[in-house]
Symmetry: C2
Subunit: 339 residues, 2 copies
Amino acid sequence: MAGIEEVARLAGVSTATVSRALSGRGHVSPASKAKVEDAAARLGYVVSSSASSLASGRTRNVGVVIPFLNRWFFSSVLEGAQRALLRKGYDLTLYNLSGEGDERAKVFEHFLLRQRVDAVIAVSLELTAHEVERLHALGKPLVGVGGPIPGVRTLSIDDVGVARLATEHLIGLGHRRIAHIGGTHEFDLDFHLPTNRRLGYEQALRDAGIEPDPALFAPADFTIRGGYHAAKQLLGVPHLRPTAIFAASDEMAIGTILAARDLGLVVPRDVSVAGVDDHDLSEFFGLTTVSQFPRGQGEQAVEILMEELEPSSDATPPAAVPLPYELRVRSSTSRPADG
Amino acid sequence: MAGIEEVARLAGVSTATVSRALSGRGHVSPASKAKVEDAAARLGYVVSSSASSLASGRTRNVGVVIPFLNRWFFSSVLEGAQRALLRKGYDLTLYNLSGEGDERAKVFEHFLLRQRVDAVIAVSLELTAHEVERLHALGKPLVGVGGPIPGVRTLSIDDVGVARLATEHLIGLGHRRIAHIGGTHEFDLDFHLPTNRRLGYEQALRDAGIEPDPALFAPADFTIRGGYHAAKQLLGVPHLRPTAIFAASDEMAIGTILAARDLGLVVPRDVSVAGVDDHDLSEFFGLTTVSQFPRGQGEQAVEILMEELEPSSDATPPAAVPLPYELRVRSSTSRPADG
DNA sequence: GTGAAAGCGCTAACAT
DNA sequence: ATGTTAGCGCTTTCAC
């Protein structure tokens, strides 16, 4: 492993110039810059990140704390963040907190504080005031994705609006008996997503003069299996059967489609189904859904951090752009049979 | 941020002793060790990883290079690796190579070489000789998961054996016309997984005196949708219809089940279906499959690295234990209708 | 078992 | 625009 000194010697300049030429901070004449780059390439020189970090205080590394790796939403956010960071020349250090909970303390007390990261992205994690404080005390920018954290810049989708949109779509098609499959209370921990989506559903109904019927709500766990069972329940009673079901996630909506099939019902003729996410599988199932572009959320989180880490003169501050969402109408929804 | 000096002062010892006490290298009397730990806790002291790395040459960080994040197998391996590393006090730096390919070069030339990691885990990536060499030249242990890399310790499942097992299960039930949905050639890049699974399938057939019928092979892309279309093809011709289908992955097997349903066929009465993976969704679909425990593969990769990074006296070297796999019989397979 | 001190390989003042 | 040099905060010889 060649060091900066050898590069300096080969290029015929000082180590300071090498450092400047390679990092882009400070002015270097085009001539020496070329010589340095050439020498570095020749020697296969790459800076030692630890030496650089120690001397500069910057690590060019961002920590991402995330509760799940094998769920579509989370892996998509992670993928987006990774791509954006790589482009900026940053590393991504992953902290998956799916574990017991003592892992969580460990991560905060030992890992994030070792000066290994310049900033932290917290995905769908409600950080405690204490945790936020520790991070802030270190001067580490922190941005949340997936829900509001008090005192933290957070990218958060308008869950009420998303649910309204899906429900209004169903109402617009002529449905009046619209059921909802939402999250159980345990899932309300992180940012009340289930509550907000149920709220949006109810608002849309009321705006259309329909009183939400508690019998048309079924809780589930955001999985296909959970949606399947909830839907069977909802669809099982013939004379009360809803003509449409809005599920709070695509996975539950897919479960609903499968349940309908098993009951001999045809989607959308006998029952319309709508979800939220635009999951990988949704197109295959022809599921009408509301996209929420999680990859973009990961990328945007990185943009925000970068603006704090390396303020660029020109840039208009990304501002608190509301996250986009979009109705995607496929073949799982149609007018109800009657009319 | 308190430094080691303050800890030393508060504990009434030298910085050298603090370092030794906290890192566990070198002998320290129990008394001073306690004092140091106490002082460190009091001050909320955590070592600066960059300073520590620079001085010691160890980063306590492992790089994981992985081609996909949003596929079950890969995210599971990643999860296993993350857990195991966290337990050992190591960080995990993620390099997702899903991108174009110039990303790949970037990662190898700039990221992995900046002395940021002590070791590298390569998941399902066929590294070039040159890439392997660069890594070795740095003295960085490297272990592969998912397929053999020349000159590299690799955890690799016996794909031929896995496919044989699934196929033999179907043969044992009495099936003779067994179709196979495998990968297309593009998927053969990484370790010939599709080829090996097809090989195992054919071996099992031949061992049972059945000549593989090329008409009973259909290529797909390892997705549910791909499996669905391939299966429709296979099941569409009534008089040639296989009584069982072995798919090279659970996702394709699930697609097969859905295709069968859409054709009015009942699984397993009209057609048995078996897959490989034991995917999250497989239980829900009652899919008979061969589990391959990817989480364990990630963990095992870490074990191997640790043995190289921190050789423990007692440990029996983990040796080249073949990766376990296991037939999981559910409700998608049964004896063929005739008998 | 413990302390003193010499680096680890860079970066950032400060000069020039 | 470039060179000189003093650290960055630890770990690790080497002595004791």
